[in-house]
Symmetry: D2
Subunit: 349 residues, 4 copies
């Protein structure tokens, strides 16, 4: 068997996680890593893992004829140009979410991928989580009948640094985008209309930066189902990631993962440990599986679990939510792009 | 101690439940019962319980100088005139929800109560449920800090008969009104804005009658918190009554009550029994407590847990939800009454 | 319908509970109450409840020709003579557990009951608990196949007063006797052999009085199943009452009842309230049901859920446990009575 | 850093698991693997993993001067001679449980280890499980005060093949030995007395081979606590691995691990998936950690979590249980070895 040779662009936290997960796979090897800030530290890190080449220039990765597939783990503003270049070079692509914050550019990137005939997987890692997969299986398998109500709770243990907030694209594009994808994944239906409510309740600095830290978004799906997502940037008890799908024959609900099942009973009450702290702990196995299934798709042609269109749809819902909040009214995803063009909104969104 | 002498108007299911709960209380006695359809059956029922007087005419109850307090358990359209008459006769009043479906009339009824200086408790029985009381205690006690997100799930095991749907006032006024009251009760804040989404997913007949069977309503509270309520007329697994309040220092969540704690583990999976079937089973103890605390309020002057204004506020939110769904946009509770007057909406709401 | 007329002997805590539960039943009325310490307080209590007669002499109750059934709620040493007298007077009998601490006397009492042809129910209230009934239903219904392992945990929130310990008959006869009955009830099989381990870990005074405060007893059933019961006189987190039956097709397990389902999530962990505090809270509904089913058995001839033989068998197992602990070896229930006679053990047991 | 060079003796299922776990560790490398049945398949397996040397002769591994530590994963009868040889060759040793089925030989093996001054870790993998570690932490940290009752449930999803039963050493030495170690681990105290009950309820073949398939063992600890372990060879709902320690200040209890948190609610009931199927699924992370901490102990001198004496003590308790069952009475661990010598028992145990 020929191994899939991988190049990684962007060796920050998530790039390194993907690297370590790739190293476990017998069908893959990492040929090269690029990072704008490559230096002795990254070289040592690569050497420890038997990765032969480290470069500052992502172009070196894309130009390397021996590389089959590229992991784009650099900042969001680089995603679209890198996808285009990689696609034109005939490389398969794994790209972190979101593809971009400009939906027109995302469309262009997907078109480049389509023309090149390469594969593109988007980093919606939660689709590979044991709990959410089980929800999807039950909905697909008909256990709960026709879906009527989809409920998603997604709360972070603490807000990101204000510097990150500034470039994040806002709560809908940065954080809730995962939940928009989840809504489509578990319901098996497209979102047609969105209404967003939000507030700044945790840190006024977030508000000063034009963002929200608490939000509730109502969804209406093409199949008639209704949905609701709630986000908070700060759940002091830890990462809160729950999904429930309710339908004509019942419901399926998943709650959080905990580090253990211990229950402590004392004179004060019954206590258990908080949920797994954050996404690295909670989605550790999901990160491994998304990498593995991407490689398998390259080797055996199995369909991708999450492709470019999934990335686009989630962005479209996020954009609709952003517009809905701005306009104070529900927005149809079908009208979001048109609204985006309107003079009045152009500057503010 | 002088016993509080009670007259019950309306001896349907709920009137009889209140009667049986009153009979347990040493401080109360039931002097008379009226029902439009009173006959031998009701007389036998009353005789079994030592209730001396049965009449068809509610006026007999109101005119009885020995009666201290009246339970209004007749149909909603009779609530306002009966409240006015009872108040004028100086009787304390327990009235089932909603006070009326016309908010102006509700205001008039409350004004009559105010002028007469009598007490009025509204039948929001869920405030007396062990689970929801515990939520309220933790929120009031500061355990979870400032409330940020309020989530209420409320699903019935099966929809009412179409004949009932016709006169029910619609899902927001008939069913979700309990949840609107719950939202105020657990958050300790007023609702300022409402956005309602809904659909007919269970029974098309419900849609033909101009009603919804599935709904999600987003709330914005005066204290800045956000809320969401989801209702379904049919949860095949039984009565689903859950509340969660999330705040700056944590969250408190209550799940359903079950008939037992048995867990069955077999080769097929781990199974437990469904929740308590419907409101009579789930809120049995709450019905007892609401009656008891009403009587206590009359005997020792303790404040009512749920008064006339609570009834009014819940109706106002329900009205706002109805208008929001009709208009397809969020509606502020402060504008709902004005909207109600507008020519365009007059006929349809 | 003629009401069953009840006489209550012994108006301590449990006698009063039975009285209040009987007062709820339309088919029963309380004709008289006797208590050695009857006085103005008890008379006021009885007057409040419309109980016509209060006496110091239990003989008055037994001699009253209008009384159909007698509740024996006096101290254990009075049970056997009262059962004999009541039986001879043709009264049906409800007697608190244990019948006696001398198994020969228990046999005599049962014989008197048999000869008189009256009914005798023993106060093993836990058989009427919603959780344990569900266990029994599943075992009887075959859900778990043939029972292999029965596990019972039974721990009190705090030990009784040393004065009570002195006359209690010891942990096996006073406390674990409920669990011995439960073992028979849920397994549907007789206990053939017992091995008891125990220690004094909570309060040395209990040891000085010749008793244990912590015990584990292994059982071997006639159907081949094995069982284990653990008791502690002090679980600081409250009343701990759990049962599990494991069999060839699965297991059924019941855990504790809690005052609510609230889960509090904070930076410190996930907390819920302790179980219902003690037997009055936990078995409130079970006490009501045991009374009701006893009365129903008298009115409609339905079989008793727990009869005299159940009382005898539980005592026999308790005696075997006591002997096992004393001898430091397993004891067959069939040999326990014989061992009891042996000179060596006579004084110590 | 010099890597620890490992030789693996015995390349069956467990040997291969340890190998794969060692391959994840940067501080370790596998120098050689021996197996009596080594052939092309094992050579391919080794080549895939970059393991240079495959041999049929365990002596090659022991004689290799470049090897620092040996994993003994061959059949139980080979453990003692291999431990002695490895110790004499100055190798550190990881040995699967039990060390042997002859306690005198186990003592000899430990003596050889002591004289050689090498490290010996026994494969009690459950000490590294996230749940049981949390129990131990709470007991050691004083959360539950002084331990009073230790309860361990340990049930396999299905019995091993009769061929394995024959050479297994019986349920106490083969299966419950893990629980004996767990009892010592979580209680922090030695076991002084054992009483074993057992039966053949699953498969009569197991009885014909002189073994039991269902057993309950009562323990008495040096610190006065009592304990109970129940084992079944067949829980149809899957691997059941629970521990509870109850003490003067409360209790800590751990339940099973499940593949997900999904709860399915339908008209039939509330269902969740069965626990993780068997030890490979449940203890996957524990196997990784036991390997890692062994290697760390070799590199940084940290104490072993489970050493030779732990292996010996568990065997001693298993022997006592075996004798107890045979004799039908409790057996003190201190008397077990003496009993073993008695003429009468020699042949049967």
């Amino acid at each position: 068997m020929n191994k899939i040779r991988i190049g990684i662009i962007g060796a920050g936290r998530i790039g390194k996680i993907h690297a370590d997960n790739l190293l476990r796979l017998p069908q893959a090897e990492i040929a090269a890593v690029s990072d704008l800030f490559a230096g002795p530290e990254l070289e040592a890190w690569a050497a420890d893992r038997g990765i032969a080449r480290v470069t500052k220039d992502s172009g070196d990765i894309i130009a390397d004829p021996q590389i089959d597939a590229i992991f784009i783990c650099s900042t969001t503003d680089t995603h679209v140009p890198l996808i285009k270049q990689a696609a034109q070079a005939g490389k398969h692509i794994f790209c972190e979410k979101p593809v971009s914050m400009d939906i027109h550019q995302t469309v262009e990137a997907l078109e480049a991928v389509r023309q090149a005939g390469v594969k593109l997987q988007i980093g919606f890692n939660r689709r590979f989580d044991h709990n959410f997969k089980r929800v999807r299986e039950h909905v697909q398998g008909g256990t709960i009948g026709d879906p009527h109500i989809v409920k998603i709770t997604s709360r972070d243990p603490n807000p990101p640094h204000p510097d990150y907030i500034k470039v994040s694209g806002g709560i809908f594009m940065d954080m809730m985008i995962h939940d928009f994808d989840m809504a489509r994944y578990v319901s098996g239906s497209e979102v047609e209309e969105v209404y967003a409510q939000g507030n700044v309740l945790i840190n006024p600095v977030i508000g000063e930066l034009g963002d929200l830290d608490t939000a509730i978004v109502t969804l209406r799906f093409a199949n008639g189902a209704l949905g609701v997502i709630d986000n908070s940037r700060q759940a002091v008890y830890g990462y809160d990631q729950r999904v429930e799908v309710f339908g004509s024959k019942g419901s399926v609900a998943v709650s959080n993962d905990h580090p253990n099942t211990a229950e402590i009973s004392t004179a004060e009450g019954i206590v258990r440990d908080k949920p797994l702290h954050f996404f690295l702990e909670r989605y550790n196995a999901a990160y491994i599986e998304e990498t593995q299934l991407f490689i398998e798709s390259l080797t055996n042609g199995s369909p991708l679990i999450v492709d470019g269109n999934d990335g686009l749809q989630a962005e479209l819902i996020a954009l609709s939510a952003k517009l809905s909040y701005k306009l104070g009214r529900p927005v149809k995803t079908a009208e979001a792009i048109r609204l985006l063009e309107s003079e009045q909104l152009k500057e503010t969104v």
